[in-house]
């Protein structure tokens, strides 16, 4: 019998009962979460089980949700069963104050650098990792740049006006600012005036 998302879900519930939750079928891929202390148990079960055989780690990354107190950081594993050709997504959530998650390097050698990258950008502390140090950023960096508290300028913000494009905010020649702040044409010679 071909492996289906529903069957994987049943197997996981059989094994872990209420510990696994948040089952979702997103665009054909099964997605679920488990407590962070159980991450290795779940990965090991998925790896060893004679039916499930999720033995290929496709991807490991983190997502930061600052609005969820106590579970700000999600570590996302993408696993692939190459025999039955089925993928799944597994998440563990951790607080940003104590971002300790067990490392998967013992199970997947591929996790080594992916965990280092996740640590580098999100500060997830992978407990037991053989060489947890920064990989893409400089070693001296003191913060975790992919977290949401370091925003880039939002180019799609809804309140934007022409000031964003270098127009309207500064006074050009032959213009004048009204008391409402809008810029109108005027005869006033404003050469040398301070550019706002």
């Amino acid at each position: 019998m071909a492996l289906t998302n529903e069957h994987i879900k049943q197997r996981l519930i059989e094994k872990f009962d209420t510990e696994v939750s948040g089952f979702e079928d997103t665009y054909g891929m099964l997605s679920f979460e488990a407590p962070k202390d159980l991450n290795l148990k779940v990965l090991q079960f998925l790896y060893d089980d004679a039916e499930l055989k999720f033995r290929f780690m496709t991807d490991l990354c983190a997502v930061h949700y600052p609005d969820q107190p106590g579970r700000e950081l999600a570590v996302v594993y993408h696993l692939h069963n190459l025999i039955d050709n089925i993928r799944l997504r597994f998440k563990v959530f951790t607080s940003v104050a104590k971002p300790d998650v067990y490392t998967a390097t013992a199970l997947f050698s591929a996790a080594n650098w992916m965990e280092r990258e996740t640590y580098d950008f999100y500060g997830v502390n992978f407990v037991g990792h053989p060489n947890l140090k920064r990989i893409l950023n400089v070693d001296e960096m003191e913060y975790f740049p992919m977290r949401k508290e370091f925003p880039l300028e939002d180019q799609t913000r809804v309140d934007k006006d022409d000031e964003m494009f270098g127009r309207g905010g500064s006074m050009g020649f032959g213009t004048e600012k009204t008391e409402h702040g809008t810029i109108i044409e005027s005869d006033k010679d404003n050469v040398g005036e301070e550019i706002i």
């Binding site: 665009y27 780690m57 496709t58 993408h78 190459l82 799609t156």
Partner: protein, 407 residues
């Protein structure tokens, strides 16, 4: 005198091994990456890789970009086959947005992706030749990469970082010159590739340099997350084009070449065979394009005005097109919330996009699964106990592209 002036680090006299910095800017690294090799004579005892020299924070930048502005970022991942990255990105967006593309668009995409695969493998294999001392093959095939770049130029106007296509299709139909050039490529390249293979495949020096160098077993390769030609050289027939077909790859007949030992020689042969298969796919796609008649033969994009950037001449003459143009360019299109993982078979392996949308106008999180990054970590295992010259050839035969590694 020397005792006074030269201060050696402590223990360096007693040390029996030599530390050698290979890179970051070494001609043999073909990109900016550093290997710190610990050598005992000419044997490698251990290696440590340092990467990140061209890290450009694409994932962070992408969190504040509209979808169409992320396409040029994907160009710069594996810049030897940027059309595949572009298409992978468009396919990911289409999966999230629920856009269905017409068959003709799929076939055009297949053509351009397979051309990109050929140009990627062609560079990699000829560089393996250069690093083992054979320069001729490199120069010989280079003019056909040029021809591929000319085809890109006809289709999208640029060569290396292509920014090709849009969500829903292409910006314009392929013109006749493009088709003529593709046909020219199909006619001439087999002869060139045969000659290239004649140069290397049974070349005694090349075989002795590459057989057994950087070998990896199938189990270790899978454990290390290898995909693409490097995994197939180890004997696992995993190919995203077959396992989760995208862009109508299920309509094509082609083989997946596999190796047995996973060494540099097998990787070389697998890539060569893949070029033959790619040509076979392009031929089939050209054949299939002939079957479209009438209005269908001019379709080059899906009918999705809310995501597909309209043609410029329509923007100037049609109200509807002007509105959509404005909304798309200003990024005023809200995306459906959801999480999607989509992968394509890149030049190097499975290129994945993990896209988290919170229903806003930009990705909430975008993660690139970059095959190079994942298999460079196996470098130490591949070269332990090997000679220094093997390290060079393993590096080029893994096809490490710094742009993809560092994102």
């Amino acid at each position: 005198m020397s005792e006074q002036h030269i201060k050696l680090p402590e223990g360096s006299i007693e040390k029996t091994t030599t530390t050698l910095n290979l890179g970051p800017t070494h001609p043999a690294t073909h990109g900016v990456m550093q290997n710190i090799l610990e050598l005992d004579g000419e044997r490698i005892v251990s290696t440590e890789q340092t990467i990140g020299y061209i890290h450009r924070a694409f994932e962070k930048i992408a969190e504040r970009r509209n979808l169409y502005q992320i396409t040029p970022l994907t160009d710069r991942l594996n810049y030897c086959s940027s059309p595949i990255n572009n298409m992978g990105w468009h396919l990911t967006c289409e999966k999230l947005l629920g856009v269905k593309t017409p068959k003709r668009v799929d076939y055009l995409r297949v053509i351009i992706m397979e051309l990109a695969r050929i140009s990627d493998h062609l560079i990699c294999n000829s560089i393996v030749g250069v690093d083992s001392g054979a320069f001729t093959g490199f120069l010989y095939v280079m003019q056909y990469r040029e021809l591929i770049y000319e085809i890109y130029e006809e289709i999208c106007g640029s060569r290396l970082t292509t920014n090709i296509g849009r969500i829903g299709g292409f910006e314009r139909n392929f013109n006749d010159i493009a088709f003529t050039k593709i046909q020219k490529f199909l006619d001439e390249y087999p002869r060139v590739l045969t000659e290239f293979e004649n140069l290397f495949n049974r070349n005694r020096i090349f075989m002795e340099r590459t057989i057994g160098a950087g070998a990896i077993s199938a189990e270790r390769a899978l454990n290390y997350g290898f995909t693409g030609p490097n995994l197939r050289a180890a004997g696992v027939d995993y190919d995203v084009r077959i396992h989760s077909p995208y862009s109508s790859y299920e309509d094509f007949q082609f083989d997946i070449p596999v190796g047995t030992t996973g060494d540099c020689y097998d990787r070389f042969l697998v890539r060569n065979q893949e070029m033959w298969q790619s040509m076979n796919i392009i031929k089939q796609a050209m054949q299939k394009l002939q079957d479209f008649k009438g209005a269908e033969a001019d379709v080059y994009h899906a009918d999705v005005p809310e995501y597909y950037l309209p043609e410029k001449k329509d923007v100037y003459t049609k109200m509807e097109a002007l509105i959509w143009h404005f909304k798309i360019i200003m990024g005023e299109i809200n995306m459906p919330a959801g999480e999607v993982y989509n992968a394509v078979e890149g030049g190097n392996g499975e290129l994945g996009f993990y896209f988290v949308s919170d229903g806003g106008r930009t990705p909430y999180r975008l993660h690139f699964r970059r095959p190079c990054f994942i298999y460079y970590q196996a470098f130490e295992e591949l070269t332990k106990g090997a000679m220094l010259s093997d390290a060079i050839i393993v590096m080029s035969s893994l096809n490490l592209i710094a742009g993809e590694m560092d994102a």
